[in-house]
Amino acid sequence: MALPRVRRFARGLTGNQADADDLLQSTVERVLQRGVPEGVELLKWMFKVCRNLHIDEIRSRQVRERAAARPELAEESVVSGEAVAIGELSLREVERAMALLSEEQRAVISLVAVEGLSYREAAEVMDIPIGTVMSRLARARATLADLLVDEQSEDSGTKLLEAGND
């Protein structure tokens, strides 16, 4: 069960299946080459390897950050008003909102909200203090709520999903 979850984590980080599968493959290769440290749970270790490889890739190619700023994301609404109204969003719609988060926020929301890790576990995977996990999580949740939820608000002109609403 670990590999499908690592794949899902990779999907959360990269935002698309092709990049996620490349990242999964690199992760499996790395773990096969170097093994898992004694006493460390395979799944958590793979999350960590996966995230570190993803950061390495971002640093060396600077590809993902540009992807997050793709112009079509700013031009179109993130989700349709109808989907928001019935509370059913497709993965594609959610991924477009996720793409607007920072890499750190995507990682922390994937680990805690999707994979169900505790703050401590997420902090260990990401090598950051628990306080930083909590802070990033709050920012990620606030941004996702702005993008994905049709809240009643007089300030809705700034919301990306406004175009699709009545």
């Binding site: 499908p4 395979l42 991924e95 996702l144």
Partner: protein, 262 residues
């Protein structure tokens, strides 16, 4: 600035977020709930956080059921890394780790799990099979003896009700041996896969199956003859060649489970 809708401070957003994860102290949670009761905007914000979270979780839920890419499965099958420092266990864990959740739903425990010492003496029910430990099958236990020396097909009692029956033995990819062992007690059954490393047996996978009754929570029901079906995927992932025949199995046991027989 964090909250375009309600102008909430980041501290408030963090508190709501921590509340969702049950990460506040009792006192903090009580105080925040009192504020939520008085402040509709704050309550609406919490609802928005939770709704967004549910959308994210639901959207990603299906990904774990999608088949893994062939390139990754090929990696698991290839022996390119067989000579290096990676322990057998990592390879086995990785092979087991790709089992789709549809199969894993029937697998009570997946990787690196153990049977507690309770098997040493009077174990009666399947519920006494404590797979949730953290080590291996105790070398002093009856079950260790069963795995070491009882030929496949023969049963041994572990308690007044509980009996263990080794089904078959095979050589694992990367070395070492594994055995599938069935347990039965009062009409209920469990099938497990145990692998031997450095003289110690580890239970890799356990599947519980009820006979003639609807499945309880966490169980899958299968006709008796197919109770072990979810294990097959794991066996397929681990097995090197075919199961050992009775004669070879007996020689392997006599050799003390030597990897290569003289």
């Amino acid at each position: 600035m964090i909250d375009r809708n309600s102008g909430l401070s980041h501290a408030d957003a963090e508190a709501l977020s921590a509340l969702m994860d049950g990460a506040l102290s009792d006192e903090e949670a009580r105080s925040l709930r009192e504020r939520l009761a008085r402040d509709p905007a704050l309550a609406a914000r919490l609802a928005a956080f939770e709704q967004a979270e549910e959308s994210v979780r639901d959207s990603y839920a299906g990904i774990v059921d999608e088949p893994l890419p062939a390139a990754v499965l090929d990696l698991l099958e290839s022996d390119d890394h067989a000579d290096n420092i990676v322990p057998l266990r990592t390879r086995q864990q990785l092979r087991i780790a790709w089992i789709p959740s549809a199969i894993a739903a029937g697998i009570a425990l997946a990787v690196g799990l153990t049977i507690g010492v309770s098997l040493d003496t009077s174990t009666d029910g399947l519920e006494d099979l404590d797979f949730a430990g953290g080590g291996a099958i105790a070398p002093a236990s009856v079950l260790h003896e069963v795995l070491e020396s009882v030929p496949s097909g023969e049963s041994r009692r572990l308690g007044t009700e509980l009996a263990a029956t080794p089904r078959f033995t095979f050589k694992a990819l990367g070395g070492g041996y594994c055995r599938q062992v069935g347990f039965s007690s009062a009409g209920r059954r469990a099938e497990t896969l145990a692998c031997r490393q450095q003289g110690v047996w580890h239970v890799e996978v356990a599947v519980f199956a009820a006979e003639g009754s609807p499945p309880a929570a966490g169980e899958i029901y299968r006709p008796a003859s197919r109770a072990a079906a979810p294990l097959d995927a794991v066996v397929d992932a681990l097995i090197d060649g075919s199961p050992l025949g009775a004669e070879l199995e007996s020689r392997v046991m006599e050799s003390g489970w030597a990897d290569t027989l003289e």
